[in-house]
Amino acid sequence: MAEKIKLYDATKCTGCRGCQLACKQWNDLPAHQTRNTGSYQNPADLQSNTWLLMRFQEMATDTGGVEWLFRHNACMHCTDSACVRVCPSEALFHTSYGTVALDQSKCIGCKECMVVCPFDVPRFDPKTNKVSKCDMCFARVERDMEPACVKACPTGALQFGDKDKMLAVIRERTAALGGKGYLYGDKFVGGTHMLYILPEKPAKYAELPENPRIPISLVAWKDWLKPLSLLAPGVALAGALLHYLTKGPKDTINKQEGGV
């Protein structure tokens, strides 16, 4: 199966939130009561019932104007995904498309994926005691359909397809933008399967890590401590066995006294 890429081209996005709604509809996610906090962005953050959030950010420019930045915030679907690495129950897994799907029935609610995700994506629902996140509509993709958000997008800001094809689209688009488009997602965590073309430097965007990476602590525990924690007891066990076989048990029992 070819790797798939979802491209979010913010230079074409009008922030209409059709994608946010389509995500809720397709995934049957309930709404929660919100309040307007002085922004179009609502809910304020990703939630267990909001896997996709359009972020709105406005900035005054040096020339007295204003910039209104929109960002399609959902799972980035890393190639080297911290969440898949830590998931104890294999609930999080890489699909054959390279995306990261979540089998909620397997989730044990340990929340580890929430803390390792460099993009702060998974969310915990105390009611179900499980984590949830965007799975790039795995069920749709398996049936040859694009994800619901892509389907809903009116402007073509969201596109979906085979990796090769999408990389060509990106090359063409960034060339057309002539230095006014910043590609985000290809240079870290093995490359993400959602890629952004942004009209501004990633650093300007709120809640968007400039250099997302797998936490060093995760490397420490998964790559070093995890094998070690098998190795060390193994050595101990082998040592004990060896000791028993070579040196034998300690002579602590006087035969006359009996005992074991």
Binding site: T14, G15, N36, G38, G65, V66, W68
Partner: protein, 824 residues
């Protein structure tokens, strides 16, 4: 739209003004984005930096209600820099026409055109000079001081960038950048388009806002070409269709005029409304008016009445009386009605000055609320602060089917009539509107038969052939296709037209075959051709595009006669027939006939046929004497404005708008506050992507309510600082007519204006909210109770009760308010 949605992609420069298309017509941006990808420039002009502005190449702010000044400046720029498309202007517009020498412009007549008497124009000086045969005198060199072109130049010479900037608050450099970019579409082969919506119409000068742009489009040769046109983005999916089928009081289906009491006979009526011209090359399509009026009468009464009788049955307007929305509610407010059908509408929230509208509703004896949900109108008697015991109005709720619960067509902004199938049955007792009306008809007919009454035959003789009849004479099953066929029209007898023989009872192939002798029927001549013997054209779903410019001529059907771009006769050179734009040709002469779109009235190249066939003289009207408030647009301030004078002239406001106070009504609907220190801030109302209209359909949808849960008011950081308001806090917005509480959204997207050296603040708020939430509904056992509720009431509590001089659309885009922290 003269063009259509897909066609926006063919544009070289898109001006979005009086519209926030990205928010309110999100799908349009599919085509805007496509055009941008092909190199088109997008310009956004709006008091507030919007989602649309965020995608624009150039954004400029302007103070609400100053669009004519802005565009007048553009006309001056185009003329001063000689950027018009000369051949187009000379041959396809009335720029060469000579105007009556006694005509005076506002610049030389105290800010008004010649002929103002009281609050109405005597238009006798707005006429053209004619020769002995009655043909209009023209100066093809456009040098004559009385020719339209020279008058135009004189009129807009006053609209200098400095003057425009002083009025609009738009920085001069932005003005010039936009003028330059847009005027570039005057080059042959370049097309510029305008996308506008309620930001232009809802003003006391609304019609003239659009006129100004239409004139610019004519000057630049942008009418009739692909990627051009004047494109109204309609505010509802079917508002085009409902207008085509006589939503408004002054028109009958197909834009035929509503008869007046002074037109006693069909002949007098036809005589009045059939335009005449002596111009030899003008097709003057409206000369067919009697065919269309006769066919309409036949569709109503068939052979049950003679044409004369049928005309007699039509309701007549009293001469000089206005029956628009505002007039009706003013009358209701004064107790002038006993009953009211609120059908698919929510005036308690959508009506300007909603407090008065709500007040007016309790002057009624009865009201029937036909809607898919309860709303603020149907439940006005239990609104907060209303003492239900004192309300005498009896309210009936008739639940009706939603769009997906019935079959039928809608007509989109691009005039495409698209057939929709029924997806699900309507819940409970809800019925499609057509069935409700049919039931109403049966009962009325029975009553009229039994009790008689004035013009009882107007009801009892109506044809009602919308389905197979049962033994009781009633329709057993209402068939929407029968309605669509009636709209298209039938031959009522065996007849021969244009050499073709037609059998009685067959469908008329197109309006060119309609007759004035009563031998044909057509419920709407514009839709004649939509449902023919070939089938239901609106249901066509062929997505092949043979044109190469996205006409999709076999997808659904488009009025008139499936012509996708109207006035397309103007897209070609008058002498050679070669398209101005060879890259995106709309029509082309292949040596023997026109190919491409359905050609608009054109004859073979060089024949001299004039392309604007719906205009009596065959050309586009740069000089437009048909309007009530002037043949050229002139800047007037909104009724409520922040400036003490009109910097252009001594005339402050549109002189011919209907002023209730001037007629001595003395009701609160007259309340206005201009340059009133109590209401120092300009205010505009608008919509958001997440809600629709008064929110009756969207506020109750949890996903949408979650995204936009509260009425909010957008204010600049500067104003927030001035008033000590924090982002996210609830504040009170008040006008002289009412007040609402709203969440303050402090934003960089609103900036104070510099108006003639003074700082003027503008605020804005969406109007989708209302006091009813699903919390108040009565639930029966087992109902799933909703959990998401919106907060806030309609922004129309604030809007003024004043309308445009031509259309009476309320001025809800520019009025004055105050904002205060809540509780202050």
């Amino acid at each position: 739209m003269t063009n259509h949605w897909n066609d926006i992609q063919n544009s070289d420069c898109i001006l979005i003004m009086g519209s926030n298309a990205a928010s309110n017509h999100p799908i349009s941006f599919k085509y805007v984005t496509r055009a941008q990808e092909r190199g088109a420039k997008l310009i956004s002009v709006d008091p507030r930096f919007t989602r649309t502005s965020s995608k624009a190449d150039i954004y400029a702010p302007l103070r609400s209600g100053t669009d004519i000044a802005f565009l007048g400046g553009m006309i001056k720029y185009i003329l001063d820099n000689q950027l018009i498309q000369k051949k187009y202007v000379r041959h396809y517009t009335n720029a060469t026409f000579l105007v009556n020498p006694s005509f005076k412009l506002p610049g030389e007549n105290n800010g008004v055109f010649s002929g103002l008497v009281g609050h109405k124009y005597d238009k006798s000086s707005w006429s053209f000079q004619t020769d002995a045969e009655g043909i209009i005198k023209k100066d093809m060199t456009m040098q004559d001081p009385h020719c339209v072109y020279r008058l135009l130049k004189k009129q807009y010479a006053r609209y200098t960038p400095q003057m425009v900037s002083k009025i609009t608050g738009t920085p001069e450099d932005k003005l010039l950048a936009i003028y330059k970019e847009y005027a570039g579409t005057g080059k042959t082969g370049k097309a510029g388009t305008i996308m506008y919506a309620m930001g232009w119409t809802q003003h006391t000068v609304g019609t003239q806002n659009i006129r100004t742009m239409a004139m610019i489009q004519l000057l630049l040769g942008n009418m009739g070409v692909a990627g051009g046109g004047v494109n109204a983005l309609r505010g509802e999916s079917n508002v085009q269709g409902s207008t085509d089928h006589c939503l408004l009081f002054h028109i009958l289906p197909g834009y035929l005029k509503t008869p007046k009491a002074s037109q006693p006979t069909l002949e007098a009526y036809n005589q009045k409304y059939t335009p005449k011209t002596k111009e030899p090359h003008s097709l003057n399509w409206w000369k067919n008016y009697p065919k269309y009026s006769a066919s309409l009468l036949r569709s109503h009464y068939g052979m049950n009445a003679s044409l004369e009788e049928a005309y007699h049955y039509l309701p007549k307007l009293d001469d000089g009386k206005n029956y628009s929305w505002l007039s009706l509610f003013e009358r209701m407010y004064k107790g002038g009605f006993s009953g009211f059908f609120a059908w698919g509408q929510n005036p308690a929230c959508s009506g300007a000055s909603s407090n008065e509208v709500r007040e007016a509703l309790n002057k009624l004896d009865w009201m029937v609320n036909v809607n898919i949900f309860d709303n603020e109108t149907g439940s006005f008697w239990k609104a907060p602060g209303v003492n239900s015991e004192k309300i005498k109005t009896e309210v009936f709720m008739l639940p009706c089917a939603a769009s997906m619960e019935k079959e039928g067509s809608i007509t989109n902004s691009g005039r495409w009539m698209q057939w929709r199938y029924k997806a699900v049955d309507s819940p409970g007792e809800a019925k499609p509107d057509s069935e409700i009306i049919t039931e109403l008809f049966y009962r009325l007919k029975k009553l009229y038969k039994k009790e008689g009454g004035p013009l009882a035959e107007a009801i009892t003789r109506l044809t009602w052939n919308y389905g197979p009849l049962g033994a009781d004479g009633r329709i057993r099953h209402l068939d929407t296709h029968m309605i669509a066929k009636e709209i298209n029209g039938y031959f009522l007898q065996d007849t021969t037209v244009k050499g073709k023989k037609f059998k009685k009872g067959t469908l008329v192939p197109s309006f060119a075959y309609l007759q004035d002798d009563g031998s044909t029927s057509s419920g709407n001549w514009l839709y004649c051709n939509s449902y023919t013997e070939k089938g239901n054209m609106a249901a066509r779903r062929n997505y092949k595009d043979k044109s190469g410019i996205g006409l999709y001529s076999e997808w659904s059907w488009c009025w008139p006669v499936n012509r996708r771009i109207i006035y397309n006769g103007a897209s070609v050179d008058p002498d050679t027939g070669i398209p101005w734009d060879k890259k995106d040709p709309v029509i082309m002469w292949n040596g023997s006939k026109w190919i491409g779109d359905v050609p608009d009235g054109v004859a073979p190249p060089g024949a001299g046929r004039l392309p604007f066939i719906m205009k009596p003289h065959g050309v586009g009207s740069i000089f437009g004497p048909g309007r009530a408030d002037g043949p050229f647009p002139e800047h007037y301030e909104p009724l409520e404005c922040p400036v003490e004078k009109n910097y252009l002239s001594p005339q402050m406001i549109n002189p011919v708008i209907k002023r209730w106070d001037k007629e001595g009504t003395g009701t609160p609907v007259d309340a206005r506050a201009t340059c009133d220190p109590r209401f120092p801030f300009v205010c505009s109302t608008y919509r958001v992507s997440e809600h629709w209209q008064t929110g009756v359909m969207t506020r109750w949808c949890p996903w949408l309510a979650e995204m936009q849960p509260d009425l909010f008011v957008e204010i600049s950081h500067e104003l927030a600082k001035l008033k000590g308001i924090k982002n996210g806090e609830i504040i009170t917005v008040s006008s002289i007519r009412g007040k609402v509480n709203a969440v303050a959204m402090v934003t960089h997207r609103f900036k104070p204006f510099n108006i003639a050296g003074n700082t003027v603040h503008e605020v804005g708020l969406p109007w989708h909210y209302g006091w009813i939430t699903t919390k108040m509904r009565e639930y029966v056992h087992g109902d799933k109770k909703p959990e998401i509720f919106t907060r806030g009431d309609s922004a129309n509590m604030l809007t003024p009760f004043i309308g445009d001089a031509n259309t009476m659309i309320p001025e809800s885009k520019a009025f004055m308010v105050n904002i205060e922290k809540k509780g202050v």
